[in-house]
Symmetry: C2
Subunit: 359 residues, 2 copies
């Protein structure tokens, strides 16, 4: 039986979108492809309220996180860390031979603008990484407030992982002055994994021109050259994903961006309300994510067993991430999941817990 996915990626994909994944192939050096690429590029720019360059990377987000630091870290990077994925970005930065410092808060807490300001004041950094939504902890960092601080540091490249928030939460990239923002399509975009979108400012491109050893596959300047000169990607892209994304963007605009963001907020509110009544929230109050809720397992139930039971009913949630396994569990309410799906899921959990999940 298929399990409806309430996990932080891949999320549930609608049959209409899956159908787009099955389109017959075209050549990626043909005119038909360029038309497709330019269409979908413009749509993602509109979603992000940006005129920045927009590239399509045939990779998971992790690949483009590597790309971002290879392109934009010259001197030293400040990696804001509040969970597993922001930690990973720090590791990626170091693995690429870059100088970098962590700015760490306890898991469950948010990266706050004051602490960032304090660090940047030292003048040691030319780039910063922030994970907008930490799906390991259910924390959504305060992007607008961080962006406000960033305006004091025009020489620092502002890089944001919006992997599990993009299309679920409003992100006005140009207004916020974000230089690099990226997201895999298997989260709020609700596509199968395999493609990552990245918006890159003129400032970030200028920076890349000065950074050595950027490599090839994730090189922003190579992406730009192919896009400008040929309306193509440098390497063979996942054409299936571009078809699916093109259709999904139309469906997102048909729902309406504001409606989509409001739907995510509504689902988050209802999961939080339920979690507060039955368990407790893991995230620092005021910084709870709108796309995913991490719940403290205050009842000491077996999350693995709960998930097995849910599986029998046709749904899957996520256990806590890494060290939080069994101590928390996570419900993703992102992408094309609807409020009624969430209600059904919560009713099932209630039913299973009431029947007594083995401890």
């Amino acid at each position: 039986m298929h399990k409806k996915l309430f996990i932080p990626g891949p999320t549930e994909v609608r049959p209409e979108i899956l159908k787009e994944m099955a389109r017959p192939m075209i050549g990626h050096r043909m005119k038909e492809f360029s038309t497709l690429l330019m269409e979908v590029t413009a749509k993602v720019q509109k979603l992000l309220y940006t005129k920045n360059h927009l590239f399509m990377s045939t990779s998971s987000s992790t690949g483009m996180m590597e790309g971002a630091v290879r392109n934009c870290v010259g001197k030293r990077c400040l990696n804001c860390i509040c969970g597993a994925f922001s930690q990973r970005w720090h590791e990626i930065t170091l693995a690429n031979g870059k100088e970098a410092d962590p700015l760490e808060v306890e898991w469950g807490k948010a990266n706050l603008p004051e602490a960032i300001d304090e660090k940047l004041k030292t003048g040691r950094y030319d780039a910063i990484t922030v994970v907008h939504n930490e799906s390991s902890t259910g924390v959504m960092n305060p992007l607008p407030e961080i962006a406000e601080v960033m305006k004091k540091y025009p020489d620092v490249i502002f890089m944001v992982d919006a992997v599990s928030s993009m299309t679920g939460v409003k992100i006005e990239v140009d207004k916020l002055g974000i230089d690099v923002i990226l997201a895999g399509v298997q989260k709020c975009f609700a596509l199968p994994p395999g493609l990552t979108v990245v918006a890159v400012s003129e400032k970030a491109l200028k920076k890349a021109e000065q950074v050595k050893n950027r490599g090839y596959y994730f090189d922003f300047l190579t992406f730009k050259r192919y896009l400008d000169e040929r309306q193509q990607t440098p390497a063979t892209p996942s054409i299936s994903h571009l078809y699916a994304l093109n259709k999904q963007m139309d469906d997102i605009f048909a729902e309406g961006l504001e409606n989509r963001f409001a739907r995510h907020k509504r689902m988050a509110d209802s999961v939080r309300r339920w979690a507060r009544e039955n368990f407790a929230l893991f995230a620092q109050p005021g910084y709870e994510s709108n796309t995913l809720t991490a719940i403290k397992n205050t009842k000491g139930i077996s999350v693995a067993k709960l998930n097995e039971e849910l599986g029998r009913r046709g749904a899957a949630i996520s256990n806590g991430y890494g060290k939080l396994k069994e101590k928390t569990f996570r419900i993703a309410h992102m992408g094309d999941i609807q409020p009624a799906d969430v209600d059904q899921l919560l009713a099932w959990i209630d039913e299973i817990v009431a029947a007594g999940v083995p401890a």
Copy 2:
């Protein structure tokens, strides 16, 4: 109208395979996924006659070409060049801050074992890259003969791009002693683009342990750790492609490996025969590719116009690559294309040329 693709990737994909691309999602940290991954991994190992480690990279081949040099070039790399894609591997090597020398032959000629031996004798190199099948020129380099030479240099990592030959030509990886061999699935595998398979020897892994700055996304050791410890990939993979590849491997074994290789040879023979009668072959005699034929445009027809006419009939071939545009044209006979498809294509070209393609 859909155009049947006689281009060197993406190749024509059968509806049964496209259907696999449209399967509902599962989580990549779930048991179902590990089962899928381990199944398809074993099948590709069998195809390659290898016990080497086998990793699935959610990227085009270009990404894993970058990965190969980042993992395995410590001292200095020898890049064998005989066309655009082997040239690109050299550029990628340099773009990743590695020391490297080109070993270049004229486009249309093959990289020969003697010249490689001559270079390796100097003892300057700890890695070599060879493109098995140069799809820009229709040359297939003599892999067994090159492998023979490589046996004299056990300290040199032998890296092969088999992008446009894997599954179309027999490659016995362990027997040949190839340390790294990679291929995107959009060529002879006949899947949509978006996934690359790579087989990595124990020797290459040992080498990677000594090489600094391997990055993260294409790091062999990270792939190995996730595969060994969890039967997973480090980052979120393209699950759709893995489903499609799993099914396609079954279909390949159902056809029979030897039958599949023979079919490719048969199609190559018939295109070559036709080309010799009507035009001329571009590749050095004795090194013509079994998966793609590059044809000299001895009649001075407009290849672009020919392709337009073919488009009206429901087929597409490729113009010459880069500087060979209009001077050559290329017919790919790879993947799931059948001899009857090739016959039909050649008949159409005859018909169009006879009617007089505008010069």
